[in-house]
Amino acid sequence: MSVSLQPAVSTGHRRDSRPRPFGAPAWLLVLAALAASAATIPLVYLVVRSLDAGLTELAATLLRPRVLQLTLNSIVLAAAVTATTLLLGIVSAWVLTRVRMPATRFWLLICALPLAVPSYLAAYGWLVWFPTLNGFWPSWFVLSMVCTPYVTLPVAAALRGASGDLEAVARTLGRGPFGAFRAATWPQVRPAAIAGALLVCLYSLSDFGLVSMLRFQTLTWGINSAYGSSFNRNQAALLALVLVVLAVAVVVGERHNRGRVGNASPGRSRVPLRRPGLKLLPFALLLLITPVSGVLVPMGGLLSRLLDAATIRSIDMPRLLESIGSTLALALGGALLAVLLALPIAALAARYRGRLVAAIEAVGFLGHALPGIVVGLSLVFFALAVVPALYQSVVVLVFAYAVLFMPKAIGTMRGGIEAVPGSLVDVSRMLGLSPLKTWWKVTRPLALPAVGIGALLVAISIMKELPATLLLRPTGVSTLATELWSRTTALEFGAAAPYAAALVLLAAVPAVILSGIRGLAKESA
């Protein structure tokens, strides 16, 4: 997952909402449907493979105490992390938007920072300081710290957009400050909070790197170890199926509970900011919890190891450069493929409506709900059974990246194309340009920045991806993420440090800069 948040609450606002009774052109529908169907390969094949094992084996495996334990661990961890991040995130968002702090931008930025740190990198940083950390509580704590911004940021945005008038009216009607917030503002914020919680819950369910480093045995850990003991691949497939069922249940549950807020006449007034005076300190401390535990402590651990004389002496430079090279190459290839697959879907969804269009777009977003390890495992089976020549080749790995991160590309590119008003397209047609020429001279130049940002987002996410890379990488190819992971699980914290540092420089820093640019662009728009 990357710094950018997919707006799960649709805030998309079409400037030209007139019906376009010319339906979508057939060629675009076909292209988009083909691209979307590529995204279904992992899920479909996983189901096929699991059913192959036979229903009796399925039932027997599912009822094994070991499987039940793994499932329970996954559920408990996801639930605990989601609850924690909801609480901490909503309170943080309230402080960010309702308390007059010096340097508002700074606080917003540091609250977003943990998003740039992959969970396993944070786990590594904590392990450097406390090598004996293991089990549920450390996993819960570090994961919560990394995930809180998924709630903080959308809730803060919703709070900023919420009308102060409603709360003021509630106060004049006799509610206390908290009662007025609950009655007037919370309903406007709730969808954002639930959407954020969905992201956290999916992230926790699908996290592999952190739990494997902190040795808490969840489903993802179980899938990896069952796959590793190569004689038991049926069990890996069944565990993956359980994980998918959990993820789908979470997504469905979120859709059910999201609720809708009618855009009832947005008031202009803002809630007056509180001047905290001396009470500033506890507010500041509260905001500092996540950046300190999610970023500062791990980065401190990383730096302390990196600057250690023994580490510097033993850096294996050729190997480091090689994994940097393969990381970048894979990211580039994956981003290109993801953008290529996303383009027809984004163009279709941006300009046309209807059940078929909505269905194609929803399928394109499938990768959003599928844990990386599930996509990895399923594509291993798929490659072995359908295209054995490609097994353990870069092609399958790049394809896995494209499936996993296509939703990010669809989201940004759709937004970019949608932002080109339909009336500009109409005007261009009226001035004598064919649809293709109009696309080239009007839509393309205006939507290009969004395509670029989409590609960059995908590339950054790919560089941080761990579980699918572990399963699908060709023999001998290693990325920064896999090197960091394998050295940390072998407790070689010093040897892992250069890879961790390179990962921060290549993925985390650009992610922060990019989110800063997008944030600025959004505010000035």
Partner: protein, 366 residues
């Protein structure tokens, strides 16, 4: 209106969206070189009509013909880019990534492009603005650029979709007069969509009044205002005074008929296609400015006065208790509560009595 030199002919046009007919049996003939306003309340289908003419929407039956080319029919739609029409949308819709010059020249080929761009910039009063970005223009300037851009390729037909609606009122009236003159100078045939009756009546050679996907009336501005086809059109294009009356068979002076109503026996013309017989109950429509203060006529007491500077709408209560409004020029204004005598300046219009209408009424518009 059957004009021999019709340039744009729309015949029995129907456009539907799902089961709903957005346009139904539209017939319209636009003479070459004229400015025709399509006037209607929002949601009446006027923008849909414009988009269908532009080729941005398919039609379900009927046809659209310009000159001798059939551009739209149920079976085929000529692509918008092959129609040779100019289009000025409501919000100007300038290409944000191109300069003013780039926008004006967007639809032109390379040859003679820069000269034509400069010429058009001068025509719309923006000479020297060619290198500016659209974001540096005011709303009125942006609309001028949009107009120049549409005129650049010398279109056969100009389509203006409420181009002045987004401007502030002062700028709006100045710009629309200027644009109408410019379009006449260029001898363009123009279709202007608007919901503003003042805009339609003041600019257009002909007005098509639309309601619910149909054209209620097509005629000159004076036709539409003084001889509306029905009471809805009457109320939509201006203020009305409505009274119940009884038709008198004998003809009045100068060929007009007579009707008995609460204003006494007054001269009246039947609405087009309406042939009442003596003794029939009819609905009589007048404009407030057709009433005047007079020495002889109907007695009335002055009620509320809505003062507008040049004139005022004066509420009047007749002896019968009926309320009506007269537009009286400002210098002659009576005081509230005064007893006055009113007369009618010109023949009223008689419409068939509609069920449910009783007594005297003041039509609030649409």
């Amino acid at each position: 209106m059957k004009t021999a030199n019709s340039w744009v002919t729309i015949d029995d046009l129907r456009v539907s969206y799902g089961p709903v007919n957005i346009l139904d049996s539209i017939r319209l003939q636009v003479p070459r070189g004229s400015l025709v306003a399509v006037l209607g309340p929002s949601g009446c289908g006027k923008t849909t009509l414009l988009r269908a003419i532009a080729g941005l929407l398919p039609v379900h039956s009927g046809s659209i013909t310009v000159g001798d080319r059939v551009l739209s029919s149920a079976s085929s739609t000529v692509a918008p880019e092959k129609r040779g029409m100019g289009w000025v949308p409501q919000d100007a819709s300038l290409f944000p990534h191109l300069s003013v010059g780039g926008n004006i020249g967007f639809g032109l080929g390379r040859a003679g492009k820069s000269a034509r761009v400069a010429e058009l910039a001068a025509i719309v009063g923006l000479a020297g603005f060619e290198d500016r970005a659209p974001s540096q223009l005011s709303g009125g300037q942006a609309q001028r650029v949009a107009l120049a851009r549409a005129l650049a390729a010398r279109p056969d037909l100009m389509l203006l979709d409420e181009p002045f609606a987004a401007l502030d009122p002062l700028l709006r009236s100045a710009l629309r007069t200027e644009v109408a003159e410019l379009l006449r100078d260029q001898e363009n045939t123009t279709l202007l969509v608007t919901h503003d009756q003042e805009e339609a009546l003041s600019l257009a050679d002909y007005v098509a009044v639309m309601r619910g996907g149909r054209i209620e009336q097509f005629g000159t501005p004076a036709d539409v205002y003084e001889r509306p086809a029905n009471l809805w059109v009457a109320g939509f294009v201006g203020d009305t005074v409505e009274l119940n009356g009884t038709w008198i068979a004998e003809a009045g002076g100068r060929g007009h008929s007579l009707v008995d109503c609460e204003l006494g026996r007054i001269r009246v013309d039947p609405a087009e296609g309406f042939a009442p017989e003596a003794g029939d109950s009819v609905r009589v429509m007048l404009r407030p400015e057709w009433l005047r203060l007079a020495d002889h006529g109907t007695d009335a007491r002055v009620g509320a006065i809505a003062y507008a500077g040049h004139d005022a709408l004066v509420g009047l209560e007749l002896a019968s208790g009926a309320l009506l409004r007269a537009r009286i020029a400002a210098p002659d204004l009576p005081r509230r509560g005064a007893e006055v005598t009113i007369a009618v300046r010109r023949p009223a219009i008689a419409f068939p009595q509609t069920s449910g209408d009783n007594g005297v009424g003041i039509n609030p518009g649409c």
